[in-house]
Symmetry: C2
Subunit: 336 residues, 2 copies
DNA sequence: ACACAGCAATGAATCGTTTCATAACCAGCT
DNA sequence: AGCTGGTTATGAAACGATTCATTGCTGTGT
């Protein structure tokens, strides 16, 4: 036999299935003697509850879904950990899906979560998902957007002020006297990228004689960054920027690799470089990276907190926007 | 109404529930006209299948479970991606659990997967899990061990030859003329750590006048590595090793940070350093790290492949051990 | 005209758990 | 003895999708 059910346990213990269920779920309602009999039957048969049956009956799973842009990005693994810790405390499981910045995969994960009747969804969106989220909401599945401020105020969100972060990063580069700033990042459809760029532009526009060049990348990965770095290195010196703001640390690490290949460009003397996220590896880079720090785990736990609150609220729940301030971390890549 | 069921769809389309199910699962059995009616009913009601009900009926989920030692370690995210890609092709979902090198959490995830009646489990084990796995097997849930060779040949496994890798790393350090080798890693209960150390010891023992010191760490993280690095830096110069082999790249990156703090120890002149895994960040470190490369994604996809094969086999399945050879990658941290 | 094959559609039974109205029992009191 | 209140235990119903034996129908061949 592959698997024992409550019925088998009940038969062996000489009680009804309802009683077995009571032993499992409200032990205080059952006499000590019966509890003992049922327990030893459970042990003898190696009974394990069937989650599918429980969920079917309950109408809801004990999971919440999380879709991230890039599971390999330490920012998101930290965020996930924050969410998981909070979820574990609530006896919930977090299912992590990796959209890889792809709308199709994002959508596939939302489908899956909907079929699983998850308690709620945390989402760092790729494209325009608002219609999708409204559909989920109609189903009674609340959503919290992470790492994204919504213009649409009907959804809760937890984010870092990327506009301020972008401005902070560019202002820092400008304060070093650099004037030919390059922004490396993409795709522009990702809100964080657009916001960080907008913030940078704001800072650059405020300084006379400063110019901002945008170097688009396909994704926010080390590989994309390296390609961008190499293309900058291959330019004539006069046409290179004197400072680079990368949309995240993975890109920045790649840019650094690309620039330094074959004893190429000197960082920070020739080109200053700053990233974003302040992942653990930023401090350990060839040239330790300046960066904009975000409280990743806190974002995750806060998002889950909002989600639980929304799920608990009968109705008339007021969506909440939480925005954390970013923090400038200065290291060697913008010093000297 | 929160959610429509097949019954609702059937009623609206004016057919029986069985027909709706047929439209969903064997469209070729249903006439075009009825299919159309059912489809538009589905669209109108926003019907989404309830996965719990499907699973209950099917007796098995469409998921496979994966428990890793550290979800933040790029080696494991790569491995997970390899497994996911293969799973997606098979219309399966991978649930990733992070044991964080903790036996309790490992066990909790196995419990969860058992309750979910997953199709199979991929596991990179912390402690001695063999009894647990035998229990799963009795339930009909096959397991494949990843990143671990079993002495117990009754389970399939996919691993890299850690003994050879450890030997390779230490032999490389010895070939540079270094004789006071330190191994940084722990806990020793993790098989990879023990094997890499054993390999290193073998290489060291083969060279007259060479000595191996073991510096134990609590975990395989950047933070643990930094502590080890700092403690080495704080020793009198004569008592420092002249080469360090770190059990993985995260540790190595941490060691590097610890050594270099406050203009401390020069790598590789004073101390040569080699890591293990060759994660993407190894090449981007302050001093680009030599490392032992493992085909992480390939390990993941191969493991899933073995799992599928075992799940498909009626019985009398012959467990398979796959061992990939590691590869030495030499960078600046062991040159000069 | 009849039999029969072949295709479509049906709907009751099933998966395993939880819930809840009901029954059984006992103790204490009048 | 009869009644009440309070524990415990019972077992049928429900959750939603799938399956499969059965029915209904159409068309073909004799």
């Amino acid at each position: 036999m592959v698997s024992a059910s409550v019925k088998d346990v009940a038969a062996l213990a000489g009680v009804s299935v309802g009683t077995v269920s009571n032993v499992l779920n409200r032990p205080e309602k059952v006499s000590a003697e019966v509890t003992g009999r049922v327990q030893s039957a459970i042990d003898k048969l190696g009974f394990v509850r069937n989650d599918a049956a429980r969920q079917l009956r309950a109408g809801m799973s004990h999971s919440i879904g999380l879709v991230v842009l890039d599971a390999a990005n330490p920012f998101f693994t930290d965020l996930a950990r924050g969410a998981e810790d909070r979820a574990t405390a609530e006896n919930l499981t977090v299912l992590v899906g990796n959209s890889n910045e792809d709308e199709g995969r994002e959508s596939a994960y939302l489908d899956l979560f909907e079929q699983q009747r998850v308690r709620g969804v945390l989402l760092s969106p790729v494209g325009n998902v608002i219609p999708r989220l409204e559909q989920l909401r109609r189903r009674g599945i609340p959503t919290v957007l992470v790492d994204r401020q919504t213009e649409n105020l009907s959804f809760s969100s937890v984010a870092v002020d990327d506009l301020a972060g972008g401005e902070m990063a560019a202002a820092h580069l400008l304060s070093l006297g650099r004037r030919r700033i390059a922004f490396v990042g993409g795709p522009a459809s990702i809100r964080q990228v657009a916001d960080r760029l907008a913030g940078a532009r704001k800072a650059v526009d405020a300084v006379a004689g400063a110019a901002l060049e945008v170097i688009a990348t396909e994704s926010l990965t080390v590989l994309s960054g390296r390609a961008a770095g190499e293309s900058i290195r291959s330019r004539p010196e006069a046409e290179r920027p004197d400072a680079i703001f990368a949309a995240n640390d993975l890109l920045a690490i790649g840019v650094l690799q690309g620039l330094m290949l074959m004893g190429g460009v000197n960082v920070p003397q020739e080109i200053a470089l700053i990233g974003y996220d302040d992942i653990e590896f930023a401090a350990a880079a060839v040239v330790p990276l300046s960066s904009i720090r975000q409280p990743s785990a806190l974002i995750g736990s806060t998002a889950l907190e909002l989600l639980l609150r929304e799920a608990a609220a009968e109705d008339g729940f007021a969506p909440t926007q939480v925005v954390f301030p970013p923090e400038l971390i200065v290291r060697a890549s913008t010093q000297g």
